[in-house]
Subunit: 249 residues, 2 copies
């Protein structure tokens, strides 16, 4: 049992991605050689959302009374709050100008992942409708079928700073579930499920500068986590609403 060497390298910048663009073609152009056998391609969710048309012009949004009220409380744009609520199954918390929301997918994220940075003025980007499906489609359209991770940066309770997490995934074991296995002394390991896909997303982020126009990062050396099937995706990383913090699944 030996460790593997990883390499992490950002692909060259992509052109600005617009709704309807063929993201797989843009990525293939940015990496003309076939992707290596053990490759995982980590793609920022924002270009996936843009290509899929998950972009909302705020001028087209009619805020509901609830959105207007929350916007007043939080000192935010009512149109943005309306978009956030449209992505939201449950508002987990609304304080200090931030809405923490459980999205329709089941992610818990500030502003339900709605983001206005690096988007045309007057527009915001929402999360892909089904990021695991996006990852599967992208994977099937890329030469060599690299595993695909779609990443976003989420805040965390108890710790400062945002961390990259996998919101979509195909062809990679997202969660290594080793519960029931033994340690070197033969005792059962406790609570050992490792968030592989989140670690991959975080590693990828180290190889690029935020907003440097390089939304895709190639990670090699992860052959043991690669799967031929697309697999259950990043959905395995979402904790259901009725499970406690740190509670057992």
């Amino acid at each position: 049992m030996s460790g593997a060497d990883l390499t992490v390298r950002a692909l060259p910048p992509l052109p600005e991605v617009r709704p309807g663009d063929d993201l797989a073609a843009l990525l293939t152009a940015a990496h003309p050689a076939p992707f290596p056998d053990d490759a995982v391609l980590v793609v920022s969710h924002k270009v996936v959302s843009k290509a899929e048309g998950a972009v909302v012009r705020l001028a087209d949004v009619v805020p509901s009374p609830r959105a207007r009220e929350l916007a007043r409380e939080l000192d935010k744009d009512p149109a943005v709050v309306e978009v956030v609520l449209g992505q939201t199954r449950e508002v987990v918390r609304a304080r200090r100008g931030v809405l923490i929301c459980r999205t329709h997918h089941g992610f818990v994220a500030a502003h339900a992942g709605v983001d206005g940075s690096n988007v045309a003025a007057g527009s915001v980007v929402t999360l892909p409708v089904d990021p695991d499906a996006s990852a599967r489609r992208l994977r099937d359209a890329l030469p060599g079928r690299p595993a695909v991770v779609i990443a976003d940066s989420f805040g965390r309770p108890w710790r400062h700073g945002q961390a990259e997490v996998a919101i979509g995934c195909a062809g990679l074991v997202a969660l290594d579930d080793r519960r029931g296995q033994a340690d070197r002394e033969g005792r059962e390991l406790l609570a050992t499920q490792i968030a592989i896909a989140d670690h991959v997303a975080g590693a990828a982020d180290l190889a690029r500068l935020k907003d440097d126009g390089r939304p895709a990062v190639l990670v090699t050396g992860l052959a043991r986590w690669r799967t031929d099937e697309h697999g259950p995706g990043a959905a395995t990383l979402r904790r259901a609403a009725d499970e406690d913090l740190f509670g057992a699944a």
Copy 2:
């Protein structure tokens, strides 16, 4: 502004580490060449704790009445609960057999980071008393003074799986604070603090198998996050108890 290539490689296995061992000497023996200029050495907290003697023999522990009561509720060993409470400033949650604790350092972790796996039978390991100080000492004792990250795996609310985080750090920017900077369109970035040291800890974990006896991983390509001074360490990643989930600092 271009991204950097990262490489991530586990050092060979270390011998079993015992209280009083010179961890820097063991690591230097495992990596005879000087560490490269842009190196970050990620070390599992467990070997740091063991070398520092942060190991408790359960037979020597006298559980308090509160520890006995909690142990009954949670179906746990009263001696282990006593050790956990000794590490704890505040019990955040006690359910489903798990104690979520805020440690004296200010970390929020299951069982206050007390761990019985890969330790001699009848003993548990606690977190280092001051992991940032441990990182600084280790760094100063290693040839080439690589940056040092001391890592542990923490559970997260809302997401399944444990993720590696930095509990100690020296010579690396742990938190990249870009609040107030602008996006490519010139608009202010919101909530952009990136947990660099946590990403590094997660990347390192991908290069080793849990319990494969390789507690140290060398990451290169992080020159832009390296600092000559030790810096404020992983303390910058701890959110104070009186700050809300996702609340502003």
